[in-house]
Every structure is written in structure tokens, then in C-alpha cells.
């Protein structure tokens, strides 16, 4: 996985709450057996009209936001289905950071597996970032993972929390499976014990 250090880019506002993974990527696009190429259908039903034409009103279709790298979204972002196609589409579009007041559990986990940084901030900070995101492409935001800090285009600094293990993995682009396999002997030991204690499993 690519290492995640710092993002300095356009932030787009999506204040709607409860944006679910069906909105992020509708099921018609889940029939792929690949992970790549889903950026073009990100937010499909909001982004395109029924005839396939772009909806000019949708934020990511506006000239200022076509190069969005940071999404500032409403509460409970990513709720619903576990489809990892949602973070795959987000990543493929070019978005590397999603900021909200809360995320749904499975989506939140899925982001880290794909080098996307989901950041939870307090409501008052969220309001500041949302306002900054509304300023368009000239107002670039910076997200610095090592320092755990977001800097608005006006220079306002907002600190954020992140699980140390997840931070370490993102910074170093580490693959979970490789890391876990290094602990193989612990899994072997557990299996030996469990097959005695619960042989019916």
C-alpha cells in the first residue's frame, strides 16, 4: 500500500447527514470482480442525471471541486452496506481524506485498508472545516498525519485523534495480512487451545 504522509488539496463540502454506501456507490456497480476503476461512478445517482449527463448542481461536478482530495461530510458518513467498493470508488476518484463528526463502523475500518484517512472531529471544528470547504479550489486544506493536524486555508489548525496502530500502518503503507502472518505462532497456539476447549467448533 502507498504510504500516507500529507495531503494538501481541495476540500469539498457534503453537509448531508447519513450518507450511506448505497449513495456512495449504488449496487449496479458491485458486479465487478476488480477493485479499480470505480471513481467514475462515485456518488453515481447524485452525480449523474437519469440520461447519464452530469448533474451540474452536484458538488464534485462543479469546476472548483473536480480535483477534490478531501471530503468534509455530514454526520454518520458511510452507513449501511459493508461494500468496500465505497472506499475503492472514493480512492479511485482521488479523495484521500474524509472528515466527519462520525463514521459508520465498517466503512471506517475499510478506509484504513485502502490508504484513506477518515478523521472524526468535534462539531465546532467540523463547522469551521465545512465553511472552509465551501470556499472552493483556491482554499486548499492541509492534512498532516504525522502531526495529527488539519490546517484550513486561513491557517486555523485543528488537531485530530487516530489509533496509533492505524497511524503506523498508514504512514508506512503496511499490509495487514503480512503483519498478522508474523504472529502466526500465536494463532497456532490459540487453535491448539481452542480445539481442546471447544472441539465442536
Amino acid at each position: 500500500m502507498e504510504k500516507f504522509e500529507k495531503v494538501h488539496g481541495v476540500a469539498a463540502p457534503m453537509p448531508l447527514i447519513n450518507i450511506d454506501t448505497d449513495m456512495i456507490i449504488p449496487k449496479v456497480h458491485l458486479k465487478t470482480i476488480k477493485r479499480s476503476g470505480l471513481g467514475v461512478v462515485l456518488f453515481d445517482e447524485m452525480r449523474y442525471h437519469d440520461d447519464g449527463q452530469e448533474n451540474e448542481e452536484f458538488v464534485l461536478n462543479k469546476p472548483a471541486y473536480r480535483q477534490t482530495e478531501i471530503l468534509v461530510a455530514g454526520d454518520n458518513f458511510g452507513c449501511g452496506s459493508s461494500r468496500e467498493h465505497a472506499p475503492w470508488a472514493i480512492k479511485d476518484f482521488g479523495i484521500k481524506v474524509v472528515i466527519s463528526t462520525s463514521f459508520a463502523d465498517i466503512f471506517f475500518n475499510n478506509c484504513f485498508k485502502n490508504g484513506i484517512l477518515p478523521i472524526v472531529v468535534e462539531e465546532e471544528h467540523h463547522a469551521v472545516l465545512m465553511e472552509d470547504a465551501h470556499k472552493g479550489e483556491n482554499a486548499r486544506m492541509t492534512v498532516h498525519l504525522e502531526d495529527q493536524k488539519i490546517t484550513t486555508s486561513d491557517g486555523v489548525e485543528i488537531a485530530f485523534d487516530i489509533d496509533p496502530h492505524r497511524k503506523h500502518c498508514l504512514l508506512n503503507g503496511l499490509d495487514d495480512i503480512g503483519l498478522t502472518m508474523e504472529k502466526d505462532h500465536h494463532i497456532d497456539k490459540f487453535e491448539d487451545h481452542a480445539s481442546q476447549a471447544r472441539p465442536w467448533v
Binding site: N18, M23, P26, G74, S81, S102, H165, I177, V201
Partner: protein
Amino acid sequence: MSPKTLYDKIWDAHVAHEADDGTCLLYIDRHLVHEVTSPQAFEGLRMAGRKVRAPEKTIAVPDHNVPTTPDRVNGIENPESRIQVEALDKNAKDFGIHYYPVNDVRQGIVHIVGPEQGWTLPGMTVVCGDSHTATHGAFGALAHGIGTSEVEHVLATQTLIQKKSKNMKVEITGKLQPGVTAKDITLAVIGETGTAGGTGYVIEYCGEAIRDLSMEGRMTVCNMAIEGGARAGLIAPDETTFEYVKGRPHAPKGAQWEAAMDWWKTLFTDEGAHFDKVITLRGEDIAPVVTWGTSPEDVLPITATVPNPEDFEGGKVDAARRSIEYMGLEAGQKLSDVEIDTVFIGSCTNGRIEDLRAAAEILKGKKIKDGMRAMVVPGSGLVRAQAEEEGLAEIFKEAGFEWRLAGCSMCLAMNPDQLQPGERCAATSNRNFEGRQGRGGRTHLLSPAMAAAAAITGRLTDVRELM
């Protein structure tokens, strides 16, 4: 020893490794797999030259995009769907995992097949690349959905990297009123907590009204724990659970059954164990409910009216306005006046035998409204066979319902069963999101009995009027 919750006990029994920062490797007893969220995971294994660590604990079944019309025995017409199902056929064979192919009578929705075949047992950890894995919590198993990268991780290592969630108790006291079902309980809870109310928690459902439920009903309740944002929902196993499990093809037998029972009987929350959050509802206060909006938290009793967006607070004002517009409703409109054109009975939420019995009970000797499109999609081939044996299929067919083969079907509309723009469906499934059942389609979630009532009258209907 300090008192533990049920969740604490199952968690502690499955930690294979704990790092200093509390990050754990949680051992997985059962890994369920379907065709939509697994192809990339198997591909990842192949590319890295890895094997499935525990194929004997891995069970696959195609369900999401299989057609449910009888002609599916001749193959799947949609090329993309066919490729996904064929990929699962091949992956199951190549990696040596248990498999129920499309035309096996035991095929069905993965969350119905697992319990039915006795794969799901109390005290287990169960995962699947599907958010409704929460269903298996009904057995007192710690069960939750995972993404495809985690599917690959479990295939390769039989573990998940996890941090423990907090404990939440949802107690439903007393008795339910006639016409009120497990679906009404679970929707009413989400109406109370909101769709983010459970985020960061594992819920244990308890109380007399939960104890009184059958296993089918308990599965309905736990199934929608995810809709309340929780990682998982749990119900402590009891005689109802053991009775259901006993004799299933993959349930333990003989001395192993006795040994299992000894442990299963310890799976309850100790007196005085700590819960970080507690919600209590009175069973008597729960009415038959329906959803009016595009979030499962948009729940109201059928006797209510569509709310006014201005009555909400914060971001919900805009969200409610958007929902009501999408749903084509007006604030103040009576929910029981909302006309529908489609009825869907099925899904991992309500596709079990008891659900079909409840719907058939209302439909017996009646016809659905003229022009209504109504379908029953049993949750598995075995549910379908049992319903035919019990005469339920005849009741549905005589009433005017289509009687389908098993699959996820119109719950998520990945197969040909979809709503057209503007169509309005009374659905026993679990999500009323925009476009969930087809682009522009409108979904009202409700119980099987309520869905049957709506099919007869052509509008959202209080089932108690037909009882």
C-alpha cells in the same frame, strides 16, 4: 472475578493475541462468503500465493445477484452476475471451502443458510463480507460484517484485527400487543437510538419481549443492529436457542453436544456487569410501525402522520426535507393513506418460515389489490420447500403473489428484481435508502404481516384492522 457481559465472555474466549495498545487478533470460528464481496479477496490470495487457512470453517453461497425466477436453472442471463457467481464456484472449488451452489436446495441468503445448516452456534465468532451478518447474534454468537480486505485477511489468517467495542444494553420489557412483531421491535429501537446511536457498541438485546421471541424473531431483531450503527447485536442463548440448533446438519452431536451445552449455558451477562449505554422500551408501547423516509431511523407507528422537517434539529432538518421530497410525501399526510404499487416479502431480515406464516395468515382467502405487483422470495430453498409443504405457497399464489426461488432479490436489487423510478414498495427488508431497491424507487420498511395487509388494501395499512 469481575462480572462480565455476554459480549465480554465471547470476546475473551477468542483473543489470539493482544498488543500493548489493546489491538487484538480475534479468532474467527465461522467465515461466511458470498459472490459480491469476495472475488477481490480470493484474487488477493492468489496474487500473494496464499491459501485459505481454515477451509473447514469457511462456507460460501451465492445469494446477492442470483435471479429468483424459475428459469434460473438454465443459467444466469446477466453476464456480470454470471461471472461473479462463476467466480465463486471456482474459488470454492480451488480453495476447498464448503459450498452451496445456486441450484442446490440448501442455497439461499447466506444469513439464513448459516443458522439453518447449524454452522452458526452459540458463543462463536462469525463474520461475512456483508453488514447483515449481525443476524447470527440471535444465537449468542459475536457476528458482524466486514469489508473485502478483511475477508481476505480472515481467509488468510482466520483472524481479524480488532479493538473491543463498548457494551450497550437494549431491554424490551413486558409483552408485545397483538399485531406487533420482532420487526416492529427492531425498527422501534432504531427509531429511538437513530442510525448512529449504536456506533462503537455491541448491543445485547434482553428483556421479556426478547425472551418470548422465536429464533426467527430474534434473528430479525439482531439483523438490524447494524442499521442502528452497532458492530453487532447479541441475544443470550437459552432453551429456545438450543432447541433450534439441536439436530441441524453441522451442530455438534453426542458427547460433543453435551460439552457444548455445558459452555453455552455459561453464556449470559453476569449480575452487575457494566453497560456503557442502556436503552429500555416497554413492549406494550410498541405499535406496528413503518418507515416514512430514506433512513431506517425514520420510523413511526402506522397510525401517525408524515412529520414536518422543521420539527427536527440540526442536520436532520435538511435530511428529512430531502427524504420527504424523494419519497413523494407531504408533511401531515396520514401514513395509512400512502398508496403503494409493489410488495416485497423476503430478505435476511424477514425471509424465514415464521415470516411467511405471518404474512400468509393475513392473506388467507384474500386477494391482493388489482394492479399490485407482489412477490415472496423465501430466504432459502429449504424455507421454500417447507412453506410449500405447509400450504403457504398456495395461499400466496391464490392471493396473487409471485412465488420465487431463494435469494436477496429486491432487498438490494442487484438481480433483475428492481423498482422503477417513482414506484413505491412495502418491503420487509432492512434499508429504505435512496435508490436501494432501484434508482428512484421508494421503500417503506415494515413487518411481513403489515406487508401482506398493504398488498390487500393497496396502501400502508394497520394490520390490526385485518386481524
